[in-house]
């Protein structure tokens, strides 16, 4: 499967960031950030208001942001279905745990049970992403 980077405006001007269209238990996200340095997949808690997953508060973990702040991330009790779709290709699906945080600013795909399942090639100069399961 081949995907395009997403154009993003910031104070540096326009940058291109690697994202994927992915569904979490069928909830369709258009541009989830491929965060290769993140250990887990982290979603805004608002998404769980839609998904209504049971969360495992006892397994919450402390997470540090790159700027030095810390917050709690709460995992889903059961693994959820990740689905990557692209027209002309058979969907790629797998199961994994996602984490939620109340004030999460972005939808981030991390290594644990998510990016670790995929073979991803980032062609940054050409803004292309190639994915295989």
């Amino acid at each position: 499967m081949e995907f395009e980077y997403t154009k993003k405006e910031c104070d540096l001007g326009t940058v291109f960031i690697p994202t994927l269209p992915i569904s979490f238990n069928g909830f369709p996200v258009g541009h989830a950030l491929i965060d290769t340095g993140a250990e887990m997949t982290l979603l805004p808690m608002e998404i769980n208001n839609i998904l209504q997953l049971e969360l495992d508060v006892e397994r919450s973990i402390d997470v540090g942001s790159a700027g030095g702040g810390k917050f709690k991330a709460i995992p889903s009790k059961k693994k959820i279905l990740f689905t990557l779709e692209h027209s002309g290709f058979r969907p790629l699906s797998w199961k994994g745990t996602v984490y939620f945080a109340p004030r999460q600013d972005a939808i981030l795909l991390g290594q644990y049970q998510c990016l670790s399942e995929l073979t991803i090639t980032l062609d940054a100069p050409n803004h292309k992403i190639y994915v295989n399961l």
Binding site: T6, K7, K8, E9, C10, D11, L12, I17, P21, F27, P28, V29, G30, H31, A32, L33, D35, G37, A38, E39, M40, L42, P44, E46, I47, N49, I50, I61, D62, V63, G64, S65, A66, G67, K70, A73, Q104, D105, A106, I107, L108
Partner: protein, 58 residues
């Protein structure tokens, strides 16, 4: 689709790369989209802040 400064921090709904609706709360946006005939082809995003970096587990 562009993650624009204008939409930073908002939830956006898009179709074929074009933003079709925005809202500050996801549930409001989902309700807006639920009335559309083409709702199955809509995808949702939270636009990150204008200047953004990731996180790590500790």
């Amino acid at each position: 689709m562009v993650f624009s400064k204008k939409n930073a921090g908002k939830w956006v709904a898009s179709k074929s790369g074009k933003v079709v609706a925005t809202a500050s709360k996801l549930e409001v946006l989902v309700r807006k989209i639920d009335t559309r005939k083409d709702k199955k082809s809509i995808r949702f995003d939270k636009v990150p802040p204008a200047n953004f970096v990731g996180f790590y587990g500790v």
